[in-house]
Symmetry: C2
Subunit: 356 residues, 2 copies
DNA sequence: CGGTTTTTAGCAAACGTTTGCCAAAAACCG
DNA sequence: CGGTTTTTGGCAAACGTTTGCTAAAAACCG
């Protein structure tokens, strides 16, 4: 916002609508209308205004517009505390997908990082209550609240991604964790596997509950006992996936009756587990089949190439933005609070029939 | 921004400063001063105001403040077109580091994605010229320009990260690409390697120029010919690292005189190259030593664990924010346009002395 | 051509906060 | 206690854009 009113000509200069009006010889409100409501302004007048705006490199001041209209053009995305894990590209994928869709809808994307401390929760609530943002997409997190303020009470349109909060009435875009893991477990059963090793995320975590339930459902559907599956992990969060996998390799070494198939609930766990197991002399998939969850690109170049359930992150991002923009525009496009976008199993060389 | 003026009491309600003033029995300007310039308001009055603000859950409207003060509290980060690669965690690391530092400085972080098309370039320039953002950090990209508007001419404080633009007068935070690659090449030479295979990023790209120059410097310092190094790649961008590595494995297979050491300029290239080479029967590091650049976490769990040069991304993010905030506050903290933060070589099992 | 209807431009106020200025109140000092 | 200085609260205008309303201009029609 360069206030340099003395510069005339083609120089970009942070011109105001008032400058455009002066140059075009019309009122400020006519400029506003010509740009935002062209049908309300005579074509000849409009041409004059557009030429003046172009000459001055006029760019509207979004703060002024937001204040007058009472609506910001910013959407915040609330991200979980730690933005990076091991090989996961979920955050970059989500950001790119969402940003692209938002820009097409005329919005800008702001990052709000939810560290689960007071400072970051207050930051998010300030954005919501101060009118700075027009809506929120929240990724794998509960809604923040502090000082008697809760995001749930802010009146802000919100869409949850990855974490199903439809029970609480929150529009949610999720993938079919349970079904996907059930199907891959069924595939392992079909191959002949009867002993399973499950590498768990944090106990009670939505994703872990869903994924483990998928394993149990597949066992039940095959008429098998749920005692055929052993758990490792449960204490660390997904961002410590490598550590979970390393510990799981130790746990595995302690088992007298060795499982023949590993169901890891993140690519990180699988990768570090496989690395440690192989250093102990075991071979994948000859001695042990391995599947994981997430679909990180590097799985294709693991040794051996890792079978994984790929989450449809970009599609989910687009769906989340669509739902959010509908909520902002108060369009009732859909009665579904819960939108499920299916994950896809990618079978690679890490899975084979057990030896016997 | 709920305009519900009829609700009194503890209910969070998007209250205005005018509401706080009414409840505290003072003027609006006194509320403003009590919150922003406490020394200008009597302690008793201030207590009344703070209590009223707390009771109403008052949150300042950043758009109003920004408009009046003439300064936004938003910083944009301009990210390269594709946000995700293979195993790189640079984007999440940068975002987390920068966001944390900005919040401490009272700023919010907005994403601007530079796709190198008109729409995204115009989007960035609108943010800059419209006063929506107070500064910019640009990551691995040149400054956008379109329609006679250039980010360089916007008057906006800008810091470049990863790409050295200090020649153009732009504050730049970079790492020592050249020196780091020179040192790792020198280490390979010290181990006895005399034939090298260099997996290149895009020809002419700043990073590739620097890293390849490092290789040549090490050869020269050891009195060796630069003909001892063969290049592969040069056509694809870093985000296609896996593809570069796959193609490099083909190129390697064509070489009659096999190099004994590979210098890959990204972890993705190294990982996919190693995967393909191993499937062809070669062993790492017995037949071929491998080093790469970037320091992605998964390198520790590769087979074998991959030696890599780790970039100090978080520290660079912090430095970039410091420089940007200094420029915004017009503090002349440093005369250095170029800030170099050193990368660190992590030697793992992928590097050994050549067989003979 | 004159009366009626539609289109168009512009005035003025709004949005929520900040800050210069002034006057009143409080504090200080001999 | 009175004069002087400092502190404090409040008025009013500013920020850049939008939009309701009105009046004037243009278009329409018999």
């Amino acid at each position: 916002m360069n206030k340099n009113k003395d510069v005339a000509g083609e120089e970009p200069s942070g011109a105001l609508m008032a400058d455009v009006a002066r140059l075009a010889g019309v009122a400020i409100s006519t400029v506003s209308r010509a740009l935002a409501n062209p049908g309300r302004v005579n074509e000849k007048t409009r041409a004059k205004i557009n030429a003046a705006a172009r000459q001055l490199g006029y760019t509207p001041n979004a703060m002024a517009r937001g204040l007058r209209v009472g609506k910001s053009n910013i959407i915040m995305i609330i991200l979980p505390g730690s933005l990076y894990y091991g090989v996961s590209q979920i955050i970059p994928q989500v950001l790119q997908s969402i940003n692209k869709s938002l820009i097409q809808g005329g919005y800008n994307l702001m990052i709000a990082n939810l560290d689960r401390d007071e400072i970051s929760e207050r930051h998010i609530l300030d954005l919501a209550f101060g009118g700075s943002v027009r809506g929120a997409i929240i990724l794998s997190s509960k809604l923040p609240e502090v000082d008697g303020r809760s995001l749930a009470n802010s009146g802000l349109p919100i869409v949850s991604m990855l974490l199903d909060m439809s029970d609480a009435g929150l529009q949610s875009v999720v993938t079919n964790d349970r079904e996907a893991v059930r199907d891959v477990t069924a595939e392992l059963i079909r191959l002949g596997h009867r002993r399973f090793f499950y590498l768990a995320g944090p106990e009670g975590n939505y994703h872990d509950v869903e994924r483990y339930a998928g394993v149990l459902e597949a066992l039940e559907a095959a008429g098998l006992s749920d005692e055929l599956v052993r758990r490792s992990g449960g204490h660390l969060d997904y961002q410590h996936g490598f550590d979970i996998g390393v510990q799981a390799a130790d746990d595995f070494a302690q088992l007298t009756e060795k499982p023949t198939a590993v169901i890891a609930t993140s690519d990180d766990m699988a990768i570090s587990f496989v690395s440690c197991i192989q250093r102990g002399g075991l071979r994948i998939p000859d001695d042990l089949s391995v599947v994981s969850f997430e679909g990180s690109p590097v799985c294709e170049f693991s040794s051996p190439p890792l079978s994984t359930i790929e989450q449809p992150v970009e599609e989910m991002g687009r769906a989340a933005v669509d739902l959010l923009l509908d909520a902002i525009d108060q369009r009732q496009k859909t009665a579904e609070v819960r939108t499920v976008i299916r994950s896809r199993l990618i079978l690679r060389e890490s899975v084979a029939a057990p030896k016997s």
